[in-house]
């Protein structure tokens, strides 16, 4: 692993055995993601995209192999260490936005900084700055249900970015959005990537996302398929 790498995955295998029948979601992946990249992981349904992202983010432990994130071996971390590590180093954007419905946009974004123990004054300043950057500062006081899908996803982007992580992981971020909103969201994320240097890693089916990604990794049957083309997906 070099100083320029955000993620290094070596021989990662993930097998689920929930129902007694082993399901091989990831079948041995070696992967390196460099700092500042804007990369999309694509592949057909069931190819292991989400599982791979979960393993890389430390949400799931690999059955075999190692995952290094920002120089730390996360596959061996305890639950508490992982929790703190994710809080400080990884931002998440989910397909279904997953904002807390009882908190306003501002409070949703502020939440992670609260976990980090950042003082209230600084929290407010950073929340308003990031909301301005994602273009929804005027909706700061609204609850998620009072926002459109695109606006909610912008709040989710702001929540992911506000803690100044080294990596933002987005699982199908545009799956619930129309093409125009998806395009605008991706443009905004790409701009943030360029301005802040934060690394973005997506899983997607969406051509709009693929077109805006600087790199594309194709997953098929739990493995990186080096020969696949965009048309195959």
């Amino acid at each position: 692993m070099t100083d320029n790498d955000v993620i290094v995955a070596e021989g990662v295998v993930k097998t689920y055995d929930d129902s007694g029948v082993p399901v091989h979601a990831i079948r041995g992946i070696d992967y390196t993601l460099a700092k500042g990249e804007f990369t999309a992981i694509i592949g057909p349904s069931g190819s292991g995209k989400t599982t791979f992202l979960n393993v890389l983010a430390g949400l799931d432990t690999p059955t075999e192999g190692e995952v290094w994130l920002s120089g730390k071996l996360i596959s061996d971390m305890s639950g508490k260490e992982l929790s703190d590590f994710r809080r400080d180093h990884i931002g998440f954007i989910f397909q279904a936005y997953n904002l807390f419905p009882v908190l306003t946009a501002e409070e949703n974004v502020e939440y992670v900084m609260l976990l980090q123990g950042i003082p209230p004054g600084e929290r407010h300043e950073r929340v308003m700055a990031i909301l301005k950057k994602v273009g929804i500062a005027e909706y700061a006081g609204r609850l998620p249900m009072q926002l459109s899908g695109g606006q909610q996803q912008r709040v989710a982007v702001a929540r992911a970015m506000v803690s100044r992580p080294s990596l933002v992981i987005a699982d199908e971020p545009t799956a619930n959005l129309d093409s125009k909103t998806s395009g605008a969201l991706l443009d905004m994320m790409r701009r943030l990537n360029e301005e802040t240097g934060v690394t973005f890693l997506f899983s997607t089916h969406d051509e709009i996302v693929m077109k805006r990604a600087r790199k594309i990794v194709v997953l098929r049957d739990g493995k990186i398929d080096g020969k696949a083309s965009l048309e195959d997906c």
Binding site: D60, S83, F85, N98
Partner: protein
């Protein structure tokens, strides 16, 4: 933020929260009312029982309570009385003599000869008419005839004495006010004694067991009859309130300790009565436990539903770095917010209910017979226990019941939840 999150989460599902709040508030209300009702009933019963008969505190010769004997006397009751009068909180005191006798009544229409065929054994209580009236309001219990009077005749053995019979005893003897009876007994000096009495009145103390075998003569008469001049067996002490009894008992006991006397509260000399009340208290606890259990089921159901519905949210919280402890605290706090609201609402409702019941009470129909004492009306009392016991029960229940679901939520597997929900 934790409080804000918890507060807003409580009101996410308004209908369900309101139902849960109603359950918890209802639990508080019923527990509070039960306690107030029971406290009020106990206080009524105790005050009735002690004011009418026993007093709240009694002074005896040492050992008298364990083994009552005509010889175990308070020898200088006047001196003890002076001491009692000096203690604030002592409302009144009454000296008494206890003994037994055989009573015989001449049946009506039997002429003026000495034909005393209706007889019964009875407890004889010597009372000071004035002091007894001040202490127990004895005259108010007289159903027919009139109260004993302190008269010179009491000290004249040759004259006819005056006596009051318990109502049931008068029925057994077929006697009524104005009739004559003969009392046969033995005095403390071993001599046998007999005396002629005119029945001045019939008393109904409210306790049929006592009225079945008790008669009353004046203290001075009893002292002569039983050869106990200047002595009594008991000093019954009346206090202003039940709450002061233990403290006053200790004070009196300390003040009379050198006199070969012992001082006991009603909890000791009416131990069976006291134990009966304690047993009732145990049944109250069971009732409160059942009420709390029902409320707990309601809270548990709500918390479980809440946790189940929000699994994805907990998954997201975990994913973005929330520690399990935060989630546990949040859910327990949510349950406690509902608990606190219930305590406030329940407190207001209970106050209204208790105020009503303490003013109006409930008529007991049929009347409640408690150890022979009949109670026709019960009222509730408002005590701190009416509030803090249900409040603690509600808060502890909310915390306990929410803890396990909170732990379950805190250990949500983020990846699994986000994948499957």
């Amino acid at each position: 933020m934790l409080l804000k999150l918890a507060w807003r989460n409580v009101f996410r599902q308004k209908r369900r929260t309101i139902l849960t709040l109603l359950t918890m508030t209802g639990g508080f209300f019923l527990s509070s009312l039960s306690i107030g009702w029971m406290d009020g009933s106990y206080s009524s019963i105790i005050m009735f029982f002690t004011n009418n008969r026993t007093g709240q505190i009694q002074v005896h010769c040492k050992g008298y309570l364990q083994s009552p004997s005509i010889y175990s006397t308070v020898n200088d009751y006047q001196a003890a009385g002076v001491f009692l009068d000096s203690i604030p909180g002592v409302r009144a005191w009454a000296p008494r003599i206890y003994s037994g006798a055989l009573l015989a009544v001449r049946p009506r229409g039997a002429g003026s000869g000495n034909v005393f065929t209706n007889s019964a054994a009875a407890s004889v209580i010597g009372i000071d008419p004035v002091m007894e009236e001040a202490a127990s309001g004895f005259s108010s219990q007289i159903e027919s005839g009139e109260m004993l009077s302190s008269s010179a005749a009491d000290t004249s053995y040759s004259a006819t004495g005056q006596i009051i019979l318990g109502k049931e005893l008068s029925i057994i003897l077929e006697a009524s006010a104005g009739d004559s009876l003969v009392m046969l007994t033995q005095a403390a000096d071993g001599s046998s004694a007999d005396r002629m009495y005119v029945i001045r009145g019939i008393v109904s103390t409210g306790n049929a067991n006592i009225d079945r075998n008790t008669c009353y003569i004046t203290l001075s008469d009893a002292q002569i009859l039983f050869a106990l001049q200047g002595k009594v067996h008991e000093i019954a002490v009346m206090t202003g309130s039940l709450g002061a009894v233990d403290e006053l008992t200790a004070k009196i006991s300390a003040g009379l300790s050198g006199e070969n006397l012992e001082t006991d509260s009603w909890k000791t000399f009416a131990r069976e009565f006291y134990n009966g009340m304690k047993a009732d208290e145990a049944s109250l606890k069971v009732m409160i436990f059942v009420i709390v259990l029902v409320a707990a089921m309601g809270v548990l159901n709500t918390i479980l539903m809440m946790v189940l519905e929000r699994r994805r949210e907990f998954g997201v919280m975990k994913a973005i770095g929330t520690r399990p402890g935060f989630i546990v605290r949040m859910i327990v706090l949510e349950a406690n917010i509902m608990g606190i609201i219930s305590v406030i609402a329940g407190g207001i409702l209970s106050t209204a209910g208790l105020l009503f019941l303490s003013e109006h009470g409930f008529a007991m129909d049929p009347p409640l017979d408690y150890g022979g004492t009949v109670f026709r009306e019960m009222i509730a009392s408002i005590t701190p226990e009416c509030y803090w016991i249900p409040a603690i029960c509600v808060i502890i229940t909310a915390s306990t019941v929410s803890f396990l679901p909170a732990l379950k939520a805190a250990h949500t597997k983020a990846a699994k939840t986000l994948r499957t929900v």
